[in-house]
């Protein structure tokens, strides 16, 4: 190798300094605008942060593709879940009349809604695809209350940043950021293909996030917690044993 000239050393030094300070500025800006996901640590943090930041900048308001009614899958696949216990069966035998969606956290008016109450709110229906991280997909018509409507009813405080949703299955909790929670297609869904949402597909209530993969669409939800910090939930990765704590990315828009 030839010896490095003084000019080369100075140029390289300047380039490295510019690069490092550029990254520092970028990281600071990203933090300020909420572009850093809760799983930004570790060796896959840089890629994950890039994905989340890029999509938050580019897709904050974009709508998931909607399909025609002719494209609805005739044989959708209900991904099997762990056996639902006796508690769920009790709710089921009472036609979910006692099922409630509790809303708490950083809100002005803590509340709890029955399925019937949710059905009385303005509904939205969309025919969208649900895609599993494994690679399979189906298209269905989903009906539910926009999550934004519920957040408006309970009076979300300005500092809120995430909505944590929990299921009757303790490991299946997950969370989304406010951009996704306020997105018009994000539903607390209770209907599928014109009927009730069948239990294998997540009934009575399923979080429907059509711009993210299936695993963010948690089944059997019964509690929403609005927060500004995901650190206090589980291991602080934003989702439970069926998500980030099992090594899966928190943001699943890809």
């Amino acid at each position: 190798m030839s010896k490095l000239s003084r000019r080369q050393i100075i140029t390289t030094g300047l380039a490295v300094t510019a690069g490092v300070s550029g990254l520092a500025v970028a990281a600071k800006l990203a933090g300020r605008y909420g572009l850093i996901p809760p799983d930004s640590g570790g060796i896959y943090g840089p890629g994950e942060t890039l994905t989340y930041a890029a999509q938050r900048v580019l897709t904050r308001h974009t709508l998931a593709r909607e399909f025609s009614s002719g494209q609805i899958s005739k044989d959708p696949f209900a991904n099997p879940v762990d056996p639902l216990g006796e508690e769920f069966q009790r709710f089921q035998s009472a036609a979910f009349a006692d099922w409630r969606l509790v809303v708490d956290g950083m809100i002005a008016r803590p509340a709890s809604f029955s399925v019937a109450e949710l059905k009385s709110f303005p509904a939205r229906t969309h025919i969208t695809m649900i895609g599993c991280e494994e690679g399979w997909t189906y298209i269905a018509e989903w009906t539910g209350v926009p999550l934004s409507h519920i957040l408006q009813l309970v009076g979300t405080l300005p500092q809120a940043r995430y909505v944590v949703y929990r299921s009757i299955q303790p490991d299946a909790w997950d969370s989304i950021d406010m951009a996704e929670a306020l997105h018009p297609q994000t539903l607390v869904s209770y209907g599928m293909n014109g009927g009730e949402l069948p239990a294998p597909f997540g009934g009575p209530l399923r979080m429907r996030v059509p711009r993210q993969l299936g695993y963010k669409n948690v089944k059997y939800i019964n509690r929403l917690t609005i927060t500004d910090n995901l650190k206090q939930f589980g291991k602080g990765l934003g989702s439970g044993e069926l998500g980030a704590e099992d090594g899966y990315a928190w943001y699943a828009g890809i």
Binding site: G47, A64, M129, T137, R211
Partner: protein, 250 residues
């Protein structure tokens, strides 16, 4: 294998060292190798969770597949005919797949910018018009079919088949791979709904698989050609840029 000995040009080489491959080409080449390998391994891991391929928008175990890969799966819900289920590796595989995709994308953009603005594509990859005549083209094909060792001047330049193969990989395969990859992203599809142009979400996934297969075939032939042309020399040319072959340029 023995290489042709350098013919008395070493002293001149030391004075005006000009690398066989530009530094940027060498760096981006190895970054591509690294990210492609990571994408390939993690891609296979992801396929194992659903080794079935479909055409159109939707596909799942209730739908008849276009074809299946006869391997066991990491999901019990997939009927494979095997009596066991492999461990789930999708978490880290997906993280690494997308991180590598970012590296590949950045590398590709850097390389493309260099290729266009520094004349690399025009000078080194665009075949000469004369080489595309049926006669010259035929000769090149015959030389390859006979596994002839390339001439010394080819240590400094690509032959016409090589140029065409690289152009197909750079301008067709990698863009298609990135496009079909992005078409599988539900969020990106909300920004640029392009999967219908590919035949649907599942079609995009199937094309993604076949383009990868094509690239693996390219890689195997690429390696075979390197061995045939002199592994050490060609590797050295792509690492340090040095070539220990006759320096006479053409």
């Amino acid at each position: 294998m023995h290489n042709a000995r350098p013919i008395g040009t070493l002293s001149r080489m030391a004075e005006t060292f000009s690398p066989r491959h530009a530094l940027l080409v060498r760096v981006t080449h190895w970054l591509t190798v690294l990210s492609f390998f990571a994408l390939l391994v993690t891609g296979v891991e992801i396929i194992i969770s659903h080794p079935r391929f479909y055409w159109g928008e939707t596909g799942n175990v209730n739908i008849r597949p276009l074809f299946t890969i006869p391997i066991p799966s990491s999901r019990s819900s997939v009927p494979t005919g095997y009596g066991y289920v492999l461990p789930d590796q999708n978490g880290w595989s997906r993280y690494l797949h997308f991180q590598s995709a970012w590296i590949l994308l950045g590398t590709g953009l850097l390389y493309a910018a260099f290729g266009f603005f520094a004349g690399h594509f025009r000078r080194n990859l665009l075949p000469a018009r004369a080489d595309l005549s049926p006669k010259r083209f035929g000769i090149s094909i015959l030389q390859h079919l006979r596994f002839e060792r390339p001439s010394a001047q080819e240590a400094w330049s690509y032959n016409v088949l090589q140029r065409l193969a690289y152009l197909v990989v750079i301008f067709l395969c990698f863009p298609l791979l990135i496009w079909t990859g992005l078409a599988m992203s539900p969020a990106f599809e909300s920004l640029v709904p392009s999967s219908s142009l590919l035949g649907g979400h599942q079609s995009a996934r199937t094309i993604h698989f076949f383009v990868t297969g094509f690239l693996v075939a390219f890689l195997l032939i690429h390696l075979l050609m390197i061995v045939l042309a002199g592994f050490r020399n060609r590797m050295r040319a792509m690492i340090s840029g040095r070539v220990t072959q006759p320096q006479e340029r053409v």
